[in-house]
């Protein structure tokens, strides 16, 4: 349910963008949700719809896409997909990563050298990848 807070951030950002770029209307928004945060897509899209209504941004179509999470070891250079490590996580561990993706550094290790010193290359959380508006 903290998906709502992130959905609100998305809509507020669209409003801020509209103001800054002096747009009459935002017509399209493209969002990527990173696999690592395991956002409940249904809840997220539901919240988005609700907030879009609330903020009277109803001309805006929101496209939500998933982004694979890729991790890369800083020690040995090995790169892997979070989907692989995901299976080894307990429900509780997955929940903590859902709230704060950085705690992945506690629960996962580089499959090759066992280091926790890896980079989240992509697919961490919510980001806006495109905004289309009309002047």
């Amino acid at each position: 349910m903290h998906e709502w807070a992130l959905a609100q951030a998305v809509v507020y950002t669209a409003i801020e963008y509209q103001r800054k770029e002096k747009l009459r209307e935002i017509v399209e928004l493209e969002i990527k949700i990173g696999e690592l945060q395991q956002i409940d897509r249904e809840i997220f899209e539901f919240a988005l719809k609700e907030i879009v209504q609330l903020k009277k941004m109803t001309g805006m179509r929101v496209r939500v896409e998933k982004e694979e999470a890729i991790l890369k070891c800083r020690v040995c250079g090995y790169q892997w997909s979070f989907a692989d490590s995901m299976k080894r996580l307990s429900g509780e561990q997955a929940e903590f990563i859902h709230f704060l993706p950085e705690v992945i550094h506690i629960h996962s290790r580089c499959p090759q050298c066992k280091s926790p010193d890896f980079e989240i290359v992509k697919g961490r959380g919510v980001k806006i990848t495109a905004i289309k508006g009309i002047k």
């Binding site: 807070a5 709230f99 704060l100 506690i106 926790p116 989240i120 919510v126």
Partner: protein
């Protein structure tokens, strides 16, 4: 295009927070966490609505000082900080427990942005932020993201501490970040050195806290903490 939507919601999350005070100093081991936790207790006992945020992800200690255990945020349109001693408390320990969390700066930054973006503090008189040592990602992010933040600086009288605290003060002044004042902690002599030193920076010297050998045995017990000389001095400094 790659916009981080979280950055735009932080102001909204802190809208009903009257004052945000970051307890800092640049140096470690000078009493920042002691001032943050006992200071929050004092404010709360005095009837203020207080939030407390532990941003020292490598060594969170507010929970230990206050003896906080077995609480967890509720989820509702974000995360709702649990209340303890009438203080709304957020710490990395909810998600990391007592395990080591080897995070680089970029991850620290991302986690701070996340906590600021999803925490629903509601209405507060004070949000007290316990800062980690250094002037790295956490300090730079709080300055960049929380426009209404004020810094409260803790120091001791030691030369090596003062030269580091001085760097922090110079950076804050240079960036025109409001500085509430300086507290001298762990005082063991009567020397007015720090008080005089503070004048150089045109920052108010708020007061002194003596070295208190009873602080250690009061850790984890809020009633005992409030009876220490440390707490009595801090109350005076805060004018209660």
């Amino acid at each position: 295009m790659n916009i981080d939507p979280r950055l735009n919601i932080i102001k909204e999350r802190l809208r009903d927070v009257r004052r945000v005070v970051a307890i800092s100093g640049g140096k470690g081991g000078i009493g920042k966490s002691s001032v943050a936790s006992i200071g929050a207790l004092i404010l709360s006992k005095s009837g203020y609505r207080v939030g407390l945020l532990d941003l020292d992800f490598w060594g969170p200690s507010l929970d230990t000082i206050l003896g906080i255990e077995n609480i967890f945020p509720r989820e509702e349109k974000g995360i709702i900080p649990p209340e303890i001693f009438a203080i709304k408390f957020i710490s990395i320990i909810y998600y990391a427990g007592e395990r080591p969390l080897p995070l680089r700066g970029a991850d620290i930054s991302n986690a701070i942005v996340e906590l600021l973006a999803i925490t629903q503090w509601g209405s507060l008189d004070f949000l007290i932020i316990d800062m980690p040592p250094g002037m790295g990602d956490a300090t730079l992010d709080i300055i960049r993201l929380v426009k209404k933040v004020e810094f409260l600086i803790v120091t001791t009288q030691s030369k090596v501490v003062l030269e580091t605290v001085e760097k922090m003060l110079r950076m804050l002044k240079d960036l025109k970040v409001p500085i509430l004042g300086i507290i001298e902690n762990m005082k063991i002599t009567n020397s007015p050195f720090v008080k005089d030193w503070a004048k150089k920076f045109d920052v108010s010297f708020l007061g002194e806290i003596n070295f208190d050998k009873n602080l250690e045995t009061s850790i984890g017990n809020v009633d005992k903490l409030l009876e220490t000389n440390f707490a009595h001095s801090l109350k005076k400094i805060m004018r209660f």
